[in-house]
């Protein structure tokens, strides 16, 4: 047994972000364990199992294409509406599920939090990671059916996982704050589905980014970092192009701001979670 290190537990100053991140890195195996558990649990006792991950975006795409694409004649941004909406829906449903799953992770693991120590962001990040399985399935689905819907196969598709990573960072940024407040105020649990719906309509999922006047696009993406990433998915998957670097940079900056400030909020409250949850 190696000589143990002394740990001092005090109520005083909170650890620095860099210190928290070092500790988080030491707990990477635990994040994976949480993610694996969530993946295993998700489709237990569900007859259709993983097919759910395929059915949901396809059903939404069908409704969107018929109602919005054909009847309301919303443009597909340079490609058939079906291909555009599927690419955006796969990305959006990841963001939405990751946020709502991550935001509730601490409540779901309340019993564990009251008996085991781990950095409290671990189950939140595990939950967001576990939803990544659905995103991966969605991307495989797009590769399989996209060409039939009018998407152009292209080497740019290889960028999609990177965009997925950006989306995960954004989801983590939003979910960490929500998870922290959820512990104290269950109100957030009820407000969340509603807020996500508002966000959906404010994001280029049912309509392409070009709907927004060109001069306003930068501001739009700065206010809604999801927009730049969702547009990136459309360009990469549906059009087979590279994403717009300027918009993506704005999205990336916005995401980092959200993530960092959210992490600080989370870490500042973390110590009281087990007393309250």
């Amino acid at each position: 047994m190696p000589a143990p290190v002394e740990l001092v537990i005090e109520g005083g100053p909170r650890p620095h972000v860099a210190q928290s991140l070092r500790e988080l890195w030491a707990y990477r195996g635990t994040i994976l364990a949480f993610a694996e558990r969530d993946c295993r649990l998700k489709y237990k006792q569900a007859v259709l199992g993983v097919a759910w991950a395929v059915l949901q975006p396809l059903a939404f795409m069908a409704i969107f294409t018929i109602m919005l694409g054909k009847l309301a004649k919303i443009p597909g941004g340079g490609v058939f509406y079906a291909a555009f909406s599927l690419s955006a829906l796969i990305a959006w449903s990841y963001l939405q599920n990751a946020i709502s799953f991550g935001a509730n992770a601490l409540l779901a693991d309340g019993a564990l939090m009251r008996k085991v120590y781990f950095p409290r962001e671990v189950p939140v990040l595990g939950a967001i990671l576990s939803v990544g399985l659905d995103l991966a399935i969605g991307l495989v689905l797009f590769v399989a059916v996209g060409p039939f819907l009018g998407a152009r196969p292209s080497p740019a598709w290889l960028l999609a996982p990177l965009l997925g990573l950006l989306l995960a960072a954004l989801a983590a940024g939003v979910a960490l704050t929500l998870a922290a407040f959820n512990v104290y105020y269950r109100d957030f649990r009820y407000a969340l589905p509603f807020a996500l719906q508002l966000w959906l309509f404010a994001s280029p999922v049912a309509y392409p980014l070009e709907v927004v006047p060109e001069g306003w696009r930068g501001l739009y993406v700065a206010v809604n970092p999801a927009a730049g990433v969702l547009d990136g998915f459309r360009r990469v998957l549906a059009l087979g192009e590279l994403p717009d670097p300027a918009l993506l940079a704005v999205s990336l900056a916005g995401t980092l701001v959200v993530l960092l400030s959210s992490y600080r909020i989370f870490k500042r409250r973390e110590r009281h979670f087990a007393d309250v949850v």
Partner: protein
């Protein structure tokens, strides 16, 4: 030797004393109230409940340490602070090495997953590496006695099986400090014995054990040192036996207070009971005695009108229904021919064979014909056996204070069978 855990003036205040599920509305209302008080120049009341109040103690490496006390004394809070589940409000805790905690065991295993999945995932959540788990997997399964149901979802298990699983995983974590909270209250006797063996082996290997239990004989048998917490404060600290004795004294005292409240002899139309006292051989009034002492129970009765042949009975109980012993003139004879005015009735109990705890005295007085109560059967007083010099075993204090109250002189002999 170096300390494994050290509490330095630790205070813990739980902030929420209000509704269990806080709401934004409640918090805003409380904040407004605090602000209102401050505006009027008053200090807002500190919110919440004080679970630990300036607690200091030290646990050495290779030491088994008990935390005892009644419910709500802060025992579990102390364990939660050590395992970093909760944080102190003030003070400092020094912890050397990996801590494995068994607090509310069983709540960590997931009912939808199988035992195999739970061991893998829960083990990693507890901080074991995959290599650790692979190495320990068979031992854990064997310890939990779950070999045949390894691939069945845990929700199909009996609660005992779930708890065995919940204990076994952290038991093989290889912690430096092992924290156990009431884990022995569950599982069948055989599994409990295995758990205790596992804990004592860890201590023998140089790990520290912190043990919280209401099972006092387990505390006495397993722990070398300990602390007695009461209302979040340290009431006693030192060798486990001494701390246990202070605790048992406190239990007795609070028991006595409860008994004293119960005792208010109902007046009867024939007799009033004016005083009940216990005395030693020397005639001194006393409350506490040793096992084997002579005890004189002295009753002072006032007769409202002259009574013929009143039969006095005295019973002894330890709080459970029924008498441990009955001393009665109905059985022994010797009722006085006539009683008028105030009399003292003494009953000599020779070599009382009772073990340490508080005993309650009951009394009734029957009429001349030995039928019909002049004074109803009711509790009238209490005395305490505080010490039993004959007891020497590893769980002597706890057992003598909680199990069979009557001491029968006996000897043991073990001889081989032929």
């Amino acid at each position: 030797m170096a300390h494994a855990v050290r509490f330095e003036g630790v205070t813990k205040r739980y902030l929420r004393g209000g509704p269990r599920y806080a709401s934004l509305r409640y918090d805003i209302a409380t904040m407004a109230k605090g602000l209102g008080a401050r505006l009027r120049g008053l200090e807002p009341e500190p919110r919440g409940t004080l679970a630990l109040d300036d607690v200091s103690f030290e646990v050495q490496e290779g030491e088994s340490f008990a935390i005892i006390g009644p419910n709500g004394a802060g025992k579990t809070t102390a364990l939660k602070l050590i395992s970093r589940i909760s944080y102190p409000t003030a003070g400092r805790i020094r912890v050397r090495g990996r801590v494995a905690a068994l607090i509310e065991i069983g709540s960590g295993v997931h009912p939808e997953l199988t035992a195999r999945e739970n061991i893998w995932l829960y083990g990693q959540i507890l901080g074991m590496s995959r290599a650790d788990i692979r190495r320990r997997f068979d031992e854990i399964v064997e310890f939990a006695e779950l070999g045949r149901v390894l691939d069945t979802p845990v929700k199909m298990y009996s609660s005992g099986m779930q708890l065995r699983l919940g204990f076994s995983i952290p038991a093989y974590l290889d912690p430096h400090i092992f924290v156990v909270d009431e884990a022995l209250a569950v599982g069948d006797a055989g599994f409990q014995a295995k758990c205790v063996e596992r804990m004592t082996k860890l201590v023998a290997d140089g790990r520290a054990l912190l043990f919280v239990s209401h099972n006092l004989s387990a505390v006495e048998a397993i722990c070398r040192r300990g602390i007695f917490l009461l209302g979040g404060r340290v009431r006693a600290t030192g060798a486990a036996r001494d701390v246990l004795r202070v605790y048992l004294d406190w239990v007795d005292a609070s028991h006595r207070d409860r008994l004293a409240n119960e005792i208010s002899p109902r007046p009867s139309q024939f007799l009033t009971l004016e005083a009940v006292t216990c005395h030693g051989l020397d005639g001194e009034e006393r409350y506490a005695f040793k096992t084997g002492d002579d005890v004189e129970v002295r009753l002072k009765f006032g007769a409202v009108a002259p009574l013929r042949r009143p039969h006095v009975s005295i019973g002894i109980t330890d709080g459970r229904p029924g008498n441990l012993a009955l001393c009665s003139m109905l059985v022994d004879g010797g009722a006085p021919e006539e009683v008028d005015g105030t009399v003292t009735v003494s009953c000599w109990l020779h070599g009382v064979p009772l073990l340490p705890r508080v005993y309650q005295l009951w009394c009734s007085v029957r009429s001349e014909q030995a039928y019909g109560d002049l004074f109803d059967w009711q509790p009238i007083g209490a005395f305490r056996i505080s010490d039993a010099p004959v007891l020497l075993g590893p769980a002597a204090h706890a057992h003598s204070a909680t199990d069979g109250p009557v001491y029968i002189a006996h000897d043991w002999e073990v001889r081989p069978c032929r």
